[in-house]
Symmetry: C2
Subunit: 608 residues, 2 copies
């Protein structure tokens, strides 16, 4: 039987597809996690792919209805409706990937000229003798200075220098940073770097080989400070109210970083002391809490950071124990609530270099938004809260096994897909978005977010209406999974915060939504959402879907860039200085805009 | 009754002397601690003074016998034989001062151009507002950069910056070192420096006002490492043999420095955080043990230091807690057994700038000697041991109350003076020297150091001869104070070590003792000894006494210079690079020279 060779990019998954089998079947067979809520019936339109080359079957009527002509011309198809007629190369857009798949490709992959701050040099020394009585350190510096100008040796390197040189028979490898030896290792040894995106909720770590820029291991862990508050404001309050609060926050963050570094090293059989440089990005509060900086001034107007500029601090001075003299580099902050993670996102997305009007958002517990207009960048910060990450939502959960991640209503019938296809146990962020949009489109929710009793799945529980997604019977007697009126209210506030931020930025530039040429959605949550759902509920501007780019953890990608390139660090400094900042509360008509934005389709929206 | 106004320099003590009273009586009345072993009878010749101006009685026959004509012409007299005939200004040479008096003037007092590494700047800032959202750190740096180029702020300064600026109403004082803010204090605040001479036995500390160079407080404490060995070799052995030995030594030294710093501060009502710079000098082993550097390579040939160059280390990185971002500067070492204390001594004595041939010694448990020949400096290190400081000597003790500090035999009769004139309890270093010289001159000891049974005070105890200085009866039944044959042997080895060092240096330069124009004797012990006794036993070259200068703790004085002047630090680096080092054990005829030097008057000596 005839078969074709199919490649799925950007995953690089390859395999054979027998003639007569759909590309969806082929993807599933090869382990490519394509979203398919309706199970291949052509109903949910979620298995979108793009045919890069090769020939496939003609578009079906379903596809001709779903896609515009330009989209079809660009090769956009539904995988369940398409059959290969030759070898093919396909592109899987991030929005068509299942959650677990997305984490494998998250973050922008950018090409970069390697220019790390730490360079290595091979040393071959002559041993001392009664006629050559130089000290060990001077011997090392002399040999090194024949290759590069170097002035000093870190004290912790000195503390082991003498026995090591002798045990290595006077051969060694020096790691040099800014004219200082920060590590001495046997020759040859690896030089690793650690990039950290220190989020309010999650901490993402990337272990990188500094010699070639390859990411050797990546891992996300919870920020343990979360037990003292889900958002930055409650953590700052804890520090202000509790005498040892600052120390506690500092220790929790550093402890988590140390543990994450150890786990990343274990994944690739590396040692902590091989890490010679760390870059950390985070919002201003996370940055300050990590370093043990004061945060009280962040709590009161005018909300200024203790420090904005980029910092280079000995890792040991914040309690991180890696290569003996290694530094931690922290990208600059912009303002009290627009931090280094935002700078890193702008660095990675290069939004400041785009022509025309661009919008870049990093959606999270705190959402930072930048509007770039031909290089002029202005940013705001919105307290979007934890609802999008499942917090404060009755059946909310993180995107773990069994979480409802996609949801559709077709002729009143409920369809959903769970993470790993497991039996449903709750709803994660992307599912919550879909549900809100679908309930609105099907008329269960009105403009103001009120739940109408016009659907068999709407019921009243403990005095408030709720929509049943999976009932007790479908769960073999366990409690139903529902969205309550209260959940809807939480989500309205969260989306209104973001929508307001966008509106304020547009008004400050005297521009309107339609002028936006691209919308870059960064952050883990932004990666998982169905953009069309976010547009339906008015959170994102009503623009053609091809103007949106979901780029994953761009802050993490920016941290990696800064890890690998001094030039990128300099760029980050320029970005931090150039970005204008608007304090939302001081914006004209702020409250009015916010109240309007709580409407699911608000009057300020084009489509309203 | 007629009286004259008398001034005693360098103490600056002044008062009236009635006509007919000797200068010795006058000194005692004014609390000037002149040595007077014979009680003013003109027998011991120890109360030498110099008349700087004014007129006094004619020299007595005793003085004409004791002093040369040039000495008399220069105004040298015995205080007990001299009576003022007008107002007078007198100079008390260090060798005529009692021990407790000497500690008050110890150390060279050098004039110096103040050029400390830390400078202070006054800052008056405008507070942030919603229209001026700069971070606190940027606000400080901006204001500072209008006065001086400054790039960074120490992380520990940052950790308190924000609340302090607010409590000080946006006015502050910045301490800047090498483009870094290392401390921020309220305006105006003191800037203190700490100079430390970290000796094997004693640690001397000087608290200095960096704004004017004045020494505010000085204090000496024991080095607590002494419980792990009196000399450097036994401490190094302890570190090699014991897994936690290095950490233990490091902690003991740092703990002592911290305590000493606190005590110095308490003496002048200062705070530790006012100390913005520290300079530490010590021999190479003390330097390494303090910093936690490896010492094993110091124990085996070719005995090289882990590091020789000058170091600037954050005080916190060695465990010292003073101003938040303060540094410790360590002067450079020369070799494994010639350390930064020697460099500091050479810096303070400026021996490298003297014309002709000069010898400079710092006598201690380890004695470093430098021979300077028209700027060319060569040094050796001698293991002189603890005998001079009372160690390994049966009735040896430190120069505390009741210690016999001066000793004479006049016509077979024993005369001595104790510290503070208290009843005798033991013998301190200077007394031991005197005793050895006097026993030799009176024939009780022969050339080889054998004790002859030719004096009523020589007796045999536990099988060995001993000389009784104070017998049981004179001590009301308590044990006698004696010098045993074994004590003499210890002292012979100690003095031979030093004598050999001098000989090796002279031979290397092909010069002889008589060519030496000046001998500078540094160190606490060197300050207390009677130089003529040291010449008698052959330890010091047989030269006219006016070629000797006892300068006290020159290493401490050098540390103070380096504390107050970057120029002096640079000079120290040049000295460390220029000094040639001879490893004694490799010198030609070393053993032969040493054996000969154990003779009290050895054959290699001019007078032998």
């Amino acid at each position: 039987m005839k078969s074709y060779h199919i490649e799925f990019e950007p995953l690089g998954r390859r395999g054979e597809c027998p003639a007569g089998q759909s590309l969806l079947d082929c993807a599933q067979k090869l382990g490519v996690g394509l979203v398919s809520i309706c199970g291949g019936r052509g109903l949910c339109h979620s298995c979108r792919i793009q045919v890069l080359n090769g020939t496939v079957s003609q578009p079906t009527s379903i596809e001709r209805q779903k896609f515009s002509l330009p989209e079809l011309q660009e090769g956009y198809r539904l995988a369940c409706q398409t059959y290969p007629t030759s070898d093919c190369k396909l592109w899987v857009p991030v929005e068509s990937m299942s959650t677990s798949q997305r984490t494998q490709v998250e973050g922008l992959e950018l090409s970069i000229n390697l220019d790390p701050p730490v360079a290595v040099y091979h040393l071959q020394l002559s041993p001392p003798s009664l006629s050559d009585l130089w000290g060990d350190a001077e011997r090392v510096l002399e040999a090194l200075n024949q290759q590069v100008h170097c002035l000093t040796i870190d004290i912790d390197v000195l503390r082991n220098l003498s026995p090591r040189l002798r045990s290595w028979n006077w051969q060694a490898q020096a790691s040099v940073r800014n004219k200082e030896i920060i590590a001495l290792s046997s020759w040859p040894s690896r030089q690793l770097g650690l990039a950290i995106d220190l989020g309010t909720t999650k901490i993402a770590g990337y272990l990188v080989d500094l010699s070639n820029g390859h990411t050797l291991a990546a891992k996300g862990v919870m920020n343990p400070q979360i037990s003292y508050g889900e958002d930055v404001v409650s953590r700052i309050s804890h520090v202000i109210d509790s005498p040892a609060g600052g120390t506690r926050m500092h220790k929790l963050a550093v402890g988590a970083l140390g543990k994450l570094a150890t786990e990343l090293c274990n994944m690739v059989d590396a040692k902590l002391k091989e890490i010679v440089e760390v870059v950390i990005v985070g919002n201003t509060a996370m940055h300050h809490l990590l370093l043990g900086l004061p945060v009280e001034q962040l709590a009161y107007s005018p909300f200024v950071p203790a420090v904005s500029e980029a910092l280079d601090i000995k890792a040991r001075d914040i309690g991180l124990h890696i290569a003996p003299g290694a530094y931690v580099h922290l990208l600059p902050n912009i303002a009290g609530f627009v931090g280094a993670d935002h700078v890193a996102m702008l660095l990675a997305t290069e939004v400041g270099q785009a022509d025309g009007l661009s919008l870049a958002l990093d959606i999270g517990t705190n959402t930072e938004i930048c509007l770039a207009s031909d290089g002029k960048m202005t940013s705001v910060s919105c307290a979007s809260g934890p609802a999008f990450e499942g917090g404060h939502i009755k059946d909310g959960m993180r995107a773990a096994k069994g979480a409802i991640e996609h949801f559709r209503m077709e002729n009143g019938e409920v369809q959903f897909q769970t993470v790993d296809g497991a039996p449903p146990v709750g709803i994660c962020g992307s599912g919550i978005f879909d549900i809100l949009a679908q309930l609105y489109l099907s008329g269960v929710l009105d403009d103001k977010g009120r739940m109408r009793n016009n659907h068999p799945r709407v019921r009243t529980c403990e005095g408030q209406p709720e929509f049943v997604i999976v009932n007790e019977e479908e769960r073999d007697g366990r409690p139903a999974i529902t969205i309550t009126q209260q959940d809807v209210r939480e989500l309205q506030l969260a989306k209104a915060a973001i929508q307001t931020g966008i509106q304020v930025l547009l008004e400050a530039e005297n521009r309107s939504e339609e002028d936006i040429k691209q919308v870059i959605i960064a952050g883990a949550f932004g990666t998982y959402i169905d953009v069309s759902s976010a547009v339906v509920i008015g959170m994102l501007p009503s623009l053609p879907l091809n103007r949106f780019r979901q780029v994953g953890n761009a802050a993490g990608a920016g941290a990696k860039l800064a890890l690998l390139s001094c030039g990128k660090r300099a760029e980050a400094q320029v970005i931090a200085r150039q970005v204008g900042y608007i304090e939302l509360a001081t914006a004209p008509r702020f409250m009015q805009t916010f109240v309007e934005a709580t409407y699911i389709r608000s009057h300020t929206n084009k489509g309203g």
